[in-house]
């Protein structure tokens, strides 16, 4: 299943990539491919902007504006004037299924 096209903010800077493969390992949507010891974005529209790849690329080759794609969370954020938050609060109460 794929979500909307041409909208994700994922970017890869090939010059910084060392081919360590970690991005390909952590990505749950097989967005990356390693070709000739370099990462390559193979399926950008599969990306859910979770941010795992960027966080784990120690060479800073990946940037993505990460967050949870959750309408209720975004609404909460707009209504409370905060970052999108899907309401898993400190008591561990999972208000919506997004957490």
């Amino acid at each position: 299943m794929q979500y909307l096209r041409n909208v994700v903010t994922l970017k890869l800077n090939g010059d910084l990539c060392t081919g360590c493969r970690l991005c390909a390992i952590v990505c749950p949507h097989a967005v990356f491919e390693i070709v000739n010891k370099k990462a390559r974005i193979a399926n950008i529209d599969n990306c859910m902007e979770c941010g795992a790849c960027a966080l784990n690329c120690q060479f800073g080759a990946i940037t993505v504006n990460s967050g949870v794609g959750c309408a209720a969370g975004i609404l909460n954020g707009i209504l409370n004037n905060t970052e999108p938050s899907c309401g898993c609060n400190a008591t561990g109460e999972n208000k919506t299924s997004c957490c």
């Binding site: 909307l4 994700v8 952590v26 859910m48 504006n65 008591t91 109460e93 999972n94 957490c99």
Partner: protein, 341 residues
Amino acid sequence: MPSPIDYQNLQPLAISFPSVSAKWIGRDFVDAVKVRWGIGRNSSKVTPGVYKIGNPDSQSDVFVSANYKLSFDILRKNLKSFNAWILVIDTKGVNVWCAAGKGNFGTETLVRSIDKTFLKSIVSHRRLIVPQLGAVGVAAHKIKEQTGFKVIFGPVQAADIAEFVKAGYKATPEMRKINFPFYERAKLIPVDLVYWKYRLLAALFVVFVFSGLDRSGFLFTKMLHTSLFPALNIFTGYLAGMVITPLLLPVIPARAFSLKGALWGLIFIVFLNLFFIAPNIERIALALMGIAVASFAALNFTGATTYTSLSGVKLEMKWSIPFQIGFAAVGLLLFIISKLI
């Protein structure tokens, strides 16, 4: 003169760890059901710390888990016949996926747990198996830098752990992928159904009261006699968006959730109309409201999916919410008019 005691490196001679079994007992099944329906959340936490499974020694693997009881239960169930340690970190009772996104399952928490549990004196090796989805919050290179432990990202599904370990800590591409099959989607529906109940009741209340409107004012008996069809429209929209859309997610090829929901709403409301007699203006009014509800409920399911991006949902909301509000407003207006003519 005796050397001063090095308190920092003092180690207890014997520590005992709670031992857990891989087997699920009746209570675990009950807990799993309760969690899904949002009942009694406090029982869904595990005390953070180190647990034994089987008879681990200083060479045994360490599996990292969130302290969400269901995550922990699924992990231990899949560690049957293992001798291993489980490091449960304090994610405030939230599962790995969500906790990682919020920073509760993150580099800092993991480093702190490693220090607090003296993990370095429990095992002599320096590897940790972290669920792959934890990578959203855990930066492997930072853990290495700060604790010396090498993070190995395990498979997405705990069910693949045995195979993963057997293959020399290697996951197949399939094990790395998060899917969203029918039963996963089905499992997520109850939480949302329960979460939105008050808003549903509010919407039902509105159409219920407006059903009693009349040229001569407000008629209580008219409300009682004519409110079933309006209420069913809203309820059908709600179910279409909240239950049918998630279950049959791939059936409607539209990518936008609000569109999927609106279409299911339309289909079911047309069906509903076959069983009722009502003026056309009322039918249209109620269909508009029902579709708005279906569309919004379906949009809300983006939060439960495993593949929607923040940028995508923001974009979808930008055009779909004005439509939903418009549909609901025009619908309500027409409904009121239908009562007054």
